[in-house]
Amino acid sequence: MTNSEPMSLVIAVVRDSDSDAIIKALVEADFRVTRIASTGGFLRHGNSTLLIGVNSDRVKEVFQIIREHSTPSVDFGLMRGMAFALKVERFEQV
């Protein structure tokens, strides 16, 4: 399947503890998510990285879902996560 609409790749770095809820919410909203890595380690909060392929006009929607499902940080002013949307040159599912 080749898609002619403009596509974006969203790379989101979120906290491990939030990742399940976020993935569930994204899948429910009909987005496809791939989780690639998580920093494990003893006694440490890890990060998960999510790759989400999405039509460019729905990027804001993805950002919104991720934002809503990240639990507020206990530490004052500390960043909880970040998300980049990159332009995809070519997108194919074979």
Partner: protein, 641 residues
């Protein structure tokens, strides 16, 4: 005088001396602990050595081991991050367990061979001298800004080997007492005492961390950490007859890594300050006591034995450091020399030596107690004075602390600017007071102003060419600003302008910002212009794991948002890290420069098994590591939350 009053008077006197020594050593650039030992020696030489410096009722080894060592060890363990420790945990454990055993055997053998001491007795000496005490070196590292990993290596080794050396010492004594040696029983005892101690410490550390998480009372939480430090030692030693020191080490590491999560920022600051002071106090007393107890006459009478002991200790350290460090993951070659020469001996060795007494010792050992103590004193003194004094020169010689060209240039230009401004202000005051004529001032002032302006530009040039220098200055400014806020709040509370609650809330916010090292200061930086733009680029940078700390902290200080992913790659599948960095338009060069300066290429040696040999023999092979691989992508949209 009543005994208690007498003890208090002596302790207060020692604290007074310690304060004076602290002031003096700062001025003369002598390590503080070395200064304390020297003053202690001078006092003991003037008034005669004291077997009981604090009064006859209290035995010195007990004071050192039960009263002073637990807070010292707890403080060091409390401040070690698990992440830092786990990186070199195998090397640390190798140095602390097989290393201590090897040192005991080698020193014992060499001393017995050289001085004719019975081998069992020499082994007791080997065990008691095996614990390293790098306080002086760690303090030096901190003041010079040596790599943190090296500090953790040296401190971690000493934390664990204090425990194992004490266990070994007990084992060697029991061998002398029993007269025979049973390998299985010794190994079993060693495992029981060491492992049991660690277990006791882990459990107590967890329990106290749980309690701390449930309450929010800075004073009570601090008190609980104190209870934990001494409680772990006493419960381990007295209730379970396992290693108290290892219990304190484990309790400190667990509590220091889990405990602070349940603390409010204010508690964290209180606990941190308390332990810093407690460690300073304990250290001062320990090293002063070392100086006070050493009897120069006894040293003089045993010079050949002491020389042998020093040679044996240096040889054993060389074998254990250069041998075991082959197993250290990507350990820079120069660090080995620093670890070797940084193996100072201190309080534990002395306390163990003093705990031997002629009356209580088994036959064979009783007659040699004086000699063993003299040897221990000699070795401790040699390592503290000779190695402690020359460490500074060694670290500088090896150029461990590399100051970049820009850092030095920044310092020079900044200093010139401050000097020029001072000259301007001084002349301005003189002209106002009529000390120089208006005419001269009018001719001079434009010149001076011009000079100042040129220097301001010159400083700015350096700061923009090396972002890490700028980041450092920004960080200092941020800390000072927070400190000023804190003291302003305290002033408001004292003057009754704000209530206790408002004060606690606002100070909590300031403390939170202060304890968060990597927190960026985007507000200020974004106001500066360059970074104010929206995130425009995504930079993916693959860097070596060992550069992670310096790279992320420099990036964060400059206000970049950074996330990291663990990855594997490169030569021998060495661990590396992939950073995702959000970058505003126009700042990509800055980010590249930061990575360039924090991820330098370097040559390292990796032991590789040689082929075509029946026994795989590791051969050090030269490899170039470091650097960063950077990809830059354009970002369509960015969100941070």
């Amino acid at each position: 005088m009543e005994p208690l009053i007498q003890v208090i008077v002596r302790v207060i006197l020692m604290l007074l001396i310690a304060s004076l020594v602290a002031i003096a050593t700062r001025r003369f650039r002598v390590p503080y602990t070395v200064g304390l030992v020297l003053i202690g020696l001078a006092v003991s030489w003037l008034v005669g050595p004291r077997e009981h410096p604090l009064g006859a009722e209290i035995s010195l080894p007990d004071i050192i081991l039960v009263l002073l060592v637990p807070p010292l060890i707890f403080e060091a363990a409390f401040h070690i991050r698990i992440e830092d420790l786990s990186r070199d945990i195998w090397l640390i454990l190798l140095l602390a367990i097989p290393g201590v055993i090897l040192t005991t055997l080698m020193v014992g053998g060499l001393v017995s061979w050289g001085t004719g001491l019975a081998i069992q007795v020499a082994l007791v000496f080997g065990a008691l001298i095996a614990a390293t005490d790098p306080v002086a070196v760690v303090a030096l590292f901190r003041s010079l800004g040596a790599p943190k990993r090296l500090q953790v290596l040296l401190e971690g080794e000493s934390l664990f080997n204090d425990g194992t050396a004490i266990v070994m010492f007990g084992l060697m004594l029991s061998i002398v007492r029993a007269g025979d040696f049973d390998l299985t029983r010794s190994v079993a005892d060693f495992l029981r005492i060491a492992g049991g101690g660690a277990l006791v410490g882990v459990i107590l550390g967890m329990v106290v961390s749980q309690i701390i998480g449930r309450i929010d009372e800075p004073m009570v939480e601090t008190t609980l950490t104190t209870v934990l430090a001494y409680g772990a030692y006493l419960i381990g030693e007295e209730a379970f007859h396992v290693s108290g020191v290892l219990a304190v080490v484990a309790a400190g590491i667990v509590n220091g890594n889990i405990g602070p999560r349940g603390m409010s920022p204010t508690t964290r600051v209180v606990v941190h300050n308390f332990w810093e002071y407690a460690a300073f106090l304990a250290n001062s007393l320990v090293f002063l006591l070392i100086g006070l107890t050493i009897d120069l006459n006894v040293l003089y009478a045993n010079i050949p034995e002491i020389l042998w002991a020093i040679v044996a200790v240096l040889l054993a350290r060389a074998v254990s450091i250069y041998g075991f460090s082959l197993f250290g993951r990507d350990l820079p070659g120069k660090w080995r020399h620093v670890l070797y020469w940084g193996g100072l001996r201190g309080a534990i060795a002395l306390a163990l030596a003093l705990s031997l007494s002629a009356e209580g010792s088994p036959e064979g050992l009783a007659g040699e107690v004086g000699r063993l103590q003299a040897m221990a004193f000699g070795v401790v003194l040699f390592t503290l004075l000779i190695q402690g004094f020359t460490m500074d020169a060694l670290v500088r010689r090896l150029e461990l602390v590399k100051r970049s060209f820009y850092q030095e240039e920044y310092e020079r230009r900044h200093a010139r600017f401050v000097a020029a401004r001072a000259a301007y202000e001084y002349l301005q005051r003189m002209s106002r007071q009529g000390l120089i004529s208006e005419h001269t001032w009018r001719r001079l002032s434009p010149l001076l102003e011009q000079q100042s302006k040129a220097l301001i530009e010159a400083v700015k040039d350096v700061l923009t060419s090396d972002p890490s220098v700028a980041a450092e200055e920004l960080d200092t400014a941020r800390r000072e600003a927070l400190r000023a806020q804190r003291s302003a709040l305290t002033g408001l509370l004292r003057d009754g302008v704000i209530s206790e609650e408002t004060y606690a809330q606002l100070v909590g916010e300031v403390d939170a910002a202060m304890t968060e090292e990597h927190l960026s200061w985007p507000g200020l930086l974004h106001a500066g212009g360059a970074l104010g733009a929206e995130i425009h680029w995504l930079m993916t940078a693959v860097i070596q794991e060992q550069d992670l700390e310096s790279a992320t902290s420099a990036l964060n200080k400059l206000g970049f948002s950074v996330a990291r992913l663990p990855s594997t790659g490169g030569f021998l599948s060495r661990r590396n890290v992939t950073l995702l960095i959000g970058i505003p338009k126009g700042s990509e060069e800055t980010a590249v420069k930061v990575l360039e300066s924090s991820c330098q290429r370097r040559v390292e040696f990796v032991p590789l098994p040689m082929r075509n040999l029946p026994l795989p023999l590791p051969v050090p092979t030269q490899v170039v590591v470091g650097g960063a691989t950077v990809f830059l992508f354009e970002v369509e949209a960015y969100d941070e939350f």
